[in-house]
Amino acid sequence: MSVIEDEEVDAPDGGARRAAVRDGVGVGIAVGVSGLAFGAAAVTAGLTVAQACVLSLLAFTGASQFALAGVVGGGGGLVAGSLGAVLLGGRNALYGMRLADTLGVRGWRRLLTAHVVIDETTAVATAQRGRAAARTGFYATAVSLYLAWNATTLLGAAGAARLGDPDVVGLDVLGPAAFLGLVWPRLTSGASQVRVAVAAAVIAIAATPLLPPGVPVMLAAVAALPALITRTERS
């Protein structure tokens, strides 16, 4: 799906929008469940239940939240820890640049919408055909994930001691499987996208042992940089 197509296909299309809602709610619930893991990890690291919940409500971006909990648990400096956690949210700024036109929001709507510009909402929005479906998918994901993530954070934090290992039921596969499902249409749509995807994965994995968690994913954005210099090819 390209930006050009976004602008052309703006006719009301019930089917595409229903599919977008299905995608969004599916992701919202599937990924939202990992709030259990965050709540439990946060309390285990030494945050109070209230602090875990406020962090999910205010930060609402998983990588940064896990990072801050990790610093608290590891007894690291909180100033550097907060700064690191915020920097991990840097990819959301890139997502915002991608979605600014698609969402086309202004004023207070933009202030509200900004809060939910994250991996999942971007993945669902960019997987849809047409601008209306992209918007529908974005907000369907935002609402369902915000509710699920915050509810499960509370459950995980309050029940941290009683909670078993979520990996036993395969919950650790839900995140990567959901993202794979969402980038799939782009991976099967052109060699240039596949090249970028493979390069990004290699960069992130190679950097993982060397850099703090979260930074390798941000670094992988350089895989998209050749787009800044090449002139041909539109996907």
Partner: protein, 103 residues
């Protein structure tokens, strides 16, 4: 600095970055090179995220056979054009099943 201040500062900082992307000046967004870059960014970051979630635990690389088998199953299901929720259920199911068998 108390943990509360760290929690609130992190929340506000994350919000500021999200808003920063959405309010990027039109002049910048309309540059065709920036357009191509931001168009490719989600593919790059999300694929990197898949790779890291599948293969890393913190800074350690790890090969969790059950998790990788689950993700592989997801890829097969996607190639067979299975619905999204089916993909998630079979992926988690395969990983859980293999762990139950002691893998």
């Amino acid at each position: 600095m108390s943990t509360w201040i760290a929690v609130i500062a992190t929340g506000l900082g994350c919000y500021a970055l999200k808003l920063g992307g959405l309010v990027t000046p039109r002049r910048v967004l309309d540059d065709p090179r920036v357009r191509r870059f931001t168009e490719l960014v989600p593919v790059a970051l999300l694929t990197a995220l898949i790779a890291v979630q599948a293969l890393a635990d913190g800074r350690n690389l790890e090969f969790d056979a059950a998790r990788l088998a689950g993700l592989g199953t997801a890829a097969v299901a996607l190639a067979l054009r299975a619905p999204f929720l089916v993909v998630l259920v079979v992926a988690a199911g395969v990983a859980a099943g293999l762990r139950l068998l002691g893998l």
